[in-house]
Amino acid sequence: MAEKKRVITRRDFIRTGSRVVMGSLMGLPLIRNAAGQATEKSRVVLIRDPDVTKGYGSLNADVLIDMFDQAVTLLHETPHAAAAWHKLVKPGDIVGIKTNVWSPLPTPAPLEDAIASRLMDAGVSTNSISIDDRGVGGNAVFKKSTALINVRPMRTHHWSGLGTLLKNYIMFVSAPWSYHGNACERLGTIWQKPFIRDKTRLNILVMVTPLFHGIGPHHFSRNYTWPYGGLIVSTDPVAADAIGARIIQAKRNESFGENKPISPRPLHIEAADTKFGIGNSHPQRIELIKTGWQEDILI
C-alpha cells in the first residue's frame, strides 16, 4: 500500500531555512541530465540593442532577428548561426516551438518565424515544425515532438511572481491552476514529465519591453514596461530566468525608488534548481555573456 503523501507546511520552510532540504522531504528526484546540465556552469547570453524598440508596441523586426542570430552564435561558439542550429537540431527532429500569446505582451511573431526559418535551414521539414501556446496539449506535432524550443517575453505574474521560461510549459498540463500554490513553486515538476524531459534545445527569454510590475485584473499597464531592448538565450531555462529575474528586480527598485520585491516571490526559479534539478539559478553557477548595448543593463 502506498504511503500517504506528507503535508508540506510553512513550518517546514521555517524549520529547514533552505529549500534544498525540501526536495528530499517531498521525495522528489533531482534531474541532473536535464536541459540545464546543472552539474556544470550554465552559459547564458544577454544581448541588447537600443534600436530594436522605441517602447511598448514598437519593434524593429530586422534588428531583433539579427540579435537572435548573434545570441545563438555566441551561445554555441560557432562561426555563424546556421552552424549553431546544426548543433541544436537534426533534420529528422519534430520540433514544437512553445510560444506565448498573452495579448498585452506576446512573443513577437517575427521571432517565432525566425526560429521556424532557422529550423528549416537546419534541415527540419516544414511539416515537422509547429508554433503553439494554448493548444499544445492537442497539437499533433507537439505530441510527436523530439525537440522543443521555448520562447516567451518576461513579465511579472499574478500567481508565480514572474512569467518565466519555466512557467511557459504550464500549458503542457491539463490543470494549470493546480500549480498555483505557494507562488507556483512546483512548476519544475512539469519539466520532469516524460513528454517534456530532455527535449528542450533552446530557451529564449524576450526582454524587448518587459513588464516589471502588474496591476488590475489584467495585470498589465504599459507604464510598467520599458524599452530594455534585450534577449536572453540559453539551453538552461533556470539560468535564463534567474538572469531575467535579477533585471526585473533591479528595474523595480530603480523605478519605485526603494527595494520593491517581486510579489509573490518567484520561488519556482530557485526551486527548479534546488528541488527539481532542472538547471542553475545561482549567479556563481552561471556564465553570463553580455553583448551589445550596455547602458542601463541593470545586471
Binding site: 508540506i8 521555517i14 498555483h180 504599459r222
Partner: protein, 305 residues
C-alpha cells in the same frame, strides 16, 4: 380529522412549492435585470472618450479567455458575470471598465481585499487608486477601471468614470459578518483579507500544500495583521458550518502545523515567532506569527463574541 388535515395539507404544500419556484425565478430575473439595468445607465460618453459598444459579457467559464492567469481569483469569489467596456478617444489612452457581479456584497468586498494597496478614494464602499488603475466595491459589484497609459487626463477620466459607476449602483452592501469577530485593538484595517478558498489564503500567507483547514465555499475566513506597541501578529479566523467541522479542522491544524502546541494551543516556532489556535464553537481562531506569546494569547482572548 386526519383525512381533512391531509386534504388541506396538499394544497398548502403545492402553494409552498409554487412560491418556492416563483421566488427562485424572481431571484434569477432580478439578478439579470439588475445587471442589465446597470449596463443601461453606464455612461456612453466620458469627456472626449466614447464607449466602444457593444460591451462584452463574460461568465465564469469565458472569463478565462478575457483575463489570463488572474481569472481564478474571481472564480474563487464566486464571480457570476463580468461586463467589460472600452472607452476610446483620439490621442488618449484606452480606458477599460470591468464590472464584476460577484453575487454578494461579501464576495465583492473579498475580491476587493485581494489587492487593496494604493491611495484611498471616497468612491463606492471602499476604493483604491494606483497609477493607471482604480478599483472599488459597492453592493455585490467589484469595479476595476484602468487606463492603458498613465496621463493626467486619463487619471481624471478614470476617477470621474468611477464616481459615475458608483452612483449608478443604488444600494450599498454589508461587509462579511466574520469581520465583526476581529478584535479592534491594534487591527491594521488595510491588511484585512476576506476569503473562502485555500488558494487565496496561500497567496496571502502560504500555510501548506494541502487544504489543512478545510477552507471551502462553506467557510468564511478573515486574515488580518495587528500591531500592538512594537509587536506584530497575523490573525486568521475561519467560520465553519458547524462546531464539528471546526473541531475537525482544529485537529487537522494541530496535527499538521502545530503538533508541538502546549495545553493552551500555543507553540514557539523555529523563527522565534509564536503561533496559537483555539476554537469558539464554529469559529477557529489562529494566530499565525506573533512577535511574542503574550500577544498571541491576548489576540486569542480578545476575539469578539
Amino acid at each position: 380529522m386526519i383525512r381533512v388535515l391531509q386534504t388541506r395539507a396538499i394544497p398548502l404544500c403545492l402553494a409552498l412549492l409554487i412560491l418556492s419556484v416563483v421566488t427562485h425565478l424572481m431571484t434569477q430575473a432580478t439578478y439579470a435585470d439588475t445587471l442589465e439595468r446597470l449596463q443601461q445607465v453606464l455612461p456612453k460618453q466620458l469627456n472626449t472618450w466614447a464607449a466602444e459598444l457593444p460591451d462584452r459579457i463574460f461568465d465564469p467559464t469565458t472569463i478565462f479567455s478575457y483575463i489570463d492567469g488572474g481569472a481564478e481569483v474571481y472564480k474563487a469569489y464566486n464571480m457570476r458575470k463580468c461586463l467589460s467596456r472600452r472607452y476610446t478617444a483620439p490621442n488618449r489612452p484606452v480606458i477599460i471598465l470591468d464590472i464584476f457581479d460577484m453575487g454578494s456584497p461579501q464576495d465583492a468586498f473579498g475580491v476587493f481585499t485581494h489587492d487593496s494597496d494604493g491611495e484611498v478614494l471616497d468612491v463606492g464602499q471602499n476604493a483604491r487608486f494606483r497609477p493607471g488603475w482604480l478599483s472599488f466595491w459597492k453592493s455585490r459589484y467589484f469595479v476595476s477601471i484602468y487606463a492603458e497609459e498613465e496621463t493626467e487626463a486619463g487619471a481624471k477620466a478614470v476617477k470621474e468614470l468611477a464616481r459615475k459607476v458608483a452612483a449608478a449602483i443604488p444600494q450599498e452592501g454589508a461587509r462579511p459578518n466574520i469581520l465583526r469577530r476581529l478584535p479592534s485593538e491594534g487591527l491594521l484595517n488595510d491588511s484585512i483579507r476576506y476569503l473562502h478558498h485555500p488558494m487565496v489564503l496561500n497567496y496571502h500567507y502560504y500555510l501548506a500544500d494541502e487544504n489543512i483547514l478545510n477552507i471551502s465555499v462553506e467557510t468564511d475566513a478573515a486574515l488580518a495583521r495587528y500591531q500592538l506597541g512594537n509587536q506584530q501578529a497575523l490573525l486568521l479566523l475561519v467560520n465553519y458550518a458547524d462546531a464539528q467541522s471546526a473541531a475537525q479542522s482544529q485537529a487537522s491544524f494541530l496535527k499538521h502545523y502545530l503538533p508541538d502546541a502546549d495545553s493552551t494551543g500555543s507553540a514557539l516556532l523555529e523563527n522565534g515567532k509564536w503561533a496559537a489556535v483555539t476554537r469558539i464553537d464554529r469559529l477557529l481562531a489562529i494566530v499565525l506569527e506573533a512577535d511574542g506569546r503574550q500577544l498571541a494569547e491576548r489576540l486569542i482572548k480578545s476575539i469578539n463574541p
